[in-house]
């Protein structure tokens, strides 16, 4: 039942959606979240009239820019380390950090039948496997942890090629130069099921992707609204459909 209060709230919501109130949200977004963030930003924009400007990149590169005063209101990191560091270093607003998605690692290849991906990895019948830089990208670190757990690190080491971000790791596979890639499920969620093998999550540390409001956006109500929107049911449904989990 929609009562008088409901209608009143609706009116406020509609009023706040008027262009006169339109504000700009500048968000730095981890490369693996590119597709979802674009969709969520469009939905948020349609619902509120606030413009969201997204800058994509490797989390490490984005964070380096933020420490030097890059004009971002919010950071959607690929890990939970950079957001914590941001708060510790006074660049993030305390109490605004939350997990917006938990990433899933996937083995991907357009060349192999990956129904049993572990067997393909163990057979080792490939020349190059692409991963993201394990020192900077959480998916790269997860990939290394997983290879370690399977005892494949030594055999795979000379065949590992590193992309500066998870997007580049995928580009190496798409170009055909690397036969296999350990990438984010979200990047390959549209591919045929036989080309993807979902790495069982117990084989790598959880990839918690955290968001945080940055100091530059502390007084930007639209930025807070965007972060709230990311935690809402509508956004969560989109995020889950895109290949992430959320507990």
């Amino acid at each position: 039942m929609v009562g008088a209060r409901g209608i009143g709230a609706l009116a406020v919501l509609l009023l706040s959606a008027l262009p006169a109130h339109a504000a700009l949200v500048r968000a730095a977004v981890a490369a693996n979240f590119t597709k979802v963030a674009t969709e969520l930003a469009a939905r948020f924009q349609a619902a509120t009239g606030n413009e969201v400007r997204l800058s994509f990149g490797a989390t490490g590169a984005l964070y380096a820019q933020i420490t030097q005063g890059a004009p971002f209101d919010a950071l959607l990191s690929a890990d939970d380390r950079r957001t914590a560091t941001a708060i510790a270093e006074g660049l993030g607003v305390p109490g605004t950090e939350f997990t917006y998605a938990v990433g899933r690692l996937a083995l991907y290849s357009p060349l192999f039948d990956l129904t049993d991906g572990e067997a393909v990895l163990r057979a080792g019948d490939f020349q190059h496997i692409a991963i993201a830089d394990p020192k900077t990208a959480p998916y790269g670190a997860a990939a290394m942890a997983m290879l370690e757990k399977f005892g494949l690190t030594e055999g795979a080491a000379p065949r590992i090629v590193t992309g500066e971000s998870i997007s580049q790791a995928l580009a190496f596979v798409e170009s055909g130069s690397a036969e296999l890639g350990l990438v984010a499920l979200s990047q390959v969620v549209d591919k045929p099921a036989t080309q993807i093998w979902l790495v069982p999550p117990e084989n790598y540390p959880a990839i918690r992707q955290n968001a945080v409001l940055l100091k530059a956006g502390e007084t930007n109500e639209a930025a807070r609204a965007f972060l709230d929107y990311l935690r809402g049911d509508a956004a969560i449904a989109v995020i889950k459909a895109a290949g992430y989990t959320l507990e």
Binding site: Q127, K135, T136, V161, E164, S177
Partner: protein, 227 residues
Amino acid sequence: MPTLAEIASPIALTAALASVTTILLLLIGTPIAWWLARTKVRWREPVAALVALPLVLPPTVIGFYLLIALGPYGPGGALASLWGARTLAFSFEGLVIGSIAYSLPFMVQPLRVAFEALGEEPIEAAATLGAGPWQTFARVAAPLARTGFFTGAILTFAHTVGEFGVVLMIGGNIPGETKVLSIAIYDLVERGDWASAHWLSLGMVVFAFVVVSAMMLIDRRYGRVTG
């Protein structure tokens, strides 16, 4: 301060890449520049424009095309299959091919200018004295155009050392194989090790200063002899 072992490999690799590229480009660039300087055909300028393209194109465009060309569905993959590999990407050989494409104008342009500055006279004089085309080139044209060779070689070497975008796109960041200095610095900045990044970057600044100074010295000392 970074340990010696950490920086020795990217420095050695960068020096090797720049040296190999410079030597190969001297061999490839000289006939191209000679032809561009001497020919009268109408499609000379389109060819010159083609050679100069890397000056204008973003490294991402060159890197993107190279990634495809070096891969299993391009000519690079066909070449690589001769020794059982699938791709030339992610290899030192691949970086050399990329660097040659990327630095071609830096070799050809100064050489062409030097060859054109010779004019017809010394070449006709050599021919009159009975010198064949090879002899004319080796004993008359090349010594007179030495500024062009110095400039081209230094520019090519320096430009290859300074290469980043192309290597980033086709290299795969393999230590000892494709992880050159510029990539190593980018890596250090990304992972927050700014102290090491500072040391390597400072080294690059010093190197660049030495190169530019050397260029100016050569220009002052020899520029007027041939120019």
